[in-house]
């Protein structure tokens, strides 16, 4: 079984939907330990992505769609999340190359490329209370699921679950990167907004692969 460009398009549509739905919640998380704009930033970026999907050509590859999405995010999100998600998806686009069908191993490579792109730009390590704390367990879980012979859908569901757990696990942490790092101990008890948006994005990826 494999996923094609339609999955990427569905993933982005679903992402736009859930980010709009969770705009206020992400904003509230960011207000607690940041500057309150994360929900607005993500919603603005994915609304632009959604608009851009209208004009995607029918024969676009998964990598082609991802590149367009990445460029849109870079030029619409702003803040820290824009370059981070943008670079991540750009790297994912590179990883997907010109393939038209993504098998399990390609899916894992794609997720790993996102994570590595984010780390490349943001230099955050695991445990520093950023979106990396959702991406890294997600990549690990995806890799394990693939090794265990799961389908692409199963791999994405494993990634989504791990990202969600990873986001939750940022709550007791002290932040070392981003705006929340200024809080010291006062960050404890609050979930990282970027880790939470990552969990939403990966849940959207799994939901878009519902039947795969």
């Amino acid at each position: 079984m494999s996923l094609d460009a339609t999955w990427v398009v569905d993933w982005m549509r679903e992402s736009a939907r859930v980010l709009a739905e969770n705009r206020a919640e992400l904003g509230a998380l960011d207000r607690e330990i940041g500057d309150g704009d994360h929900g607005e930033n993500m919603d603005r970026g994915f609304a632009a992505v959604l608009a851009g999907l209208e004009t995607i050509s029918a024969d676009a590859s998964p990598g082609g769609v991802l590149q367009k999405v990445a460029m849109t995010l870079i030029s619409t999100i702003g803040g820290a999340a824009g370059p981070l998600y943008g670079t991540g998806l750009l790297k994912a686009s590179d990883a997907a190359g010109t393939e038209t069908q993504l098998d399990g191993a390609s899916i894992v490579a794609l997720l790993r490329a996102v994570r590595d792109g984010i780390v490349l730009r943001g230099k955050a390590e695991v445990g520093e209370k950023t979106m990396v704390d959702a991406w890294t367990p997600a990549v690990d879980a995806a890799s394990a699921a693939e090794s265990a012979g799961e389908s692409p859908g199963g791999i994405l569901r494993a990634a989504a679950e791990a990202a969600s757990a990873g986001a939750e696990a940022t709550e007791p942490l002290i932040a070392r990167k981003g705006r929340a790092s200024y809080l010291g101990e006062r960050a404890i008890g609050h979930r990282d907004p970027g880790a939470q948006s990552t969990a939403l994005l990966l849940q959207a990826a799994a939901d878009a692969a519902r039947n795969a």
Binding site: G36, D37, E40, G78, A80, P83, Y182
Partner: protein, 333 residues
Amino acid sequence: MKKLINDARAVVDETLGGLAAAHSDILSVSFEPRYVARRGAPIAGKVALVSGGGSGHEPLHVGFVGRGMLDAAVPGAIFASPTPDLVFAATRAVDGGAGVLYLVKNYTGDVLNFETAADFAAGAGIRVESVLINDDVAVEDSSFTAGRRGIAGAVLVEKIAGAAAERGDDLDSVAAIARRVNASMRSMGVGLRAGVVPYSGEPSFTLDDEHIEFGIGIHGEPGRAVIPLEPADAIVDRLVTAITGDLPFVAGDRVLLLVNGLGGTPLSELYIVFRRAAQSLVERGLAVTRSLVGSFATSLEMQGVSITLLRLDDELLELWDAPVHTAALRWGC
């Protein structure tokens, strides 16, 4: 939420619309892509200065576009760094062939977006240098944080580097001056009441009537601690102690003292703060050689104040005094 706005999402564009209408002699506004450029830019042979960052801090940076200061400012959404394509568009619009200096406040978002813009510019054959502004001593500068934040000191860097570019310094020299200003200044602020972010309608933090945030950031980020509200003089003494101890500033130093309102603080309170700050610097043997009082780097309608101290030398003093003509700062012309 009680604001004189039309649509929360139109706040930045409509602010720029007013800016353009009020100051057409100084600047012009491009809405798509969105940036503010000095009238007459590009100026052939002059180093161009570009700054920017999230909106909500007006007049920073758009109010500092003009003769002797910025060639362009790139305002992002409220509290969100502008995207690289916009910074790049502004860069192209104002590059006069002598290179472009980016003045970037140290926030992850600003750093990353300006970095990408610099890559775009390099690709287009435009030489770009970047200077990070990180004057806020509230935040420890250590490997455990994203580093010191840039706050009101940005105004001083923009003014002085702008004057250096205006007198014809080359890119490396202007960048060196900007770095010298940044290295010679320290800031810190307190917040009494948060501004309300238009798109959420919520205050960016909440404090009861008896407490203030000591070391507040200009996005309402927390600082060192929530402390009880004290008389202004006691608060000022805390700020001055933190600031002077950090560089450190020492007896005999000539300094520029900037008392900056955060948006919702009346001018009378800024002068009350200035009064004690100046007294307390004099007690420490410093010479307050230049002064600036007003709301220059704000956080929507936040109530509070920040203090910035810059150690002056003859060259910085001369550049400070040089003519400037922007919407928010003007003298000598």
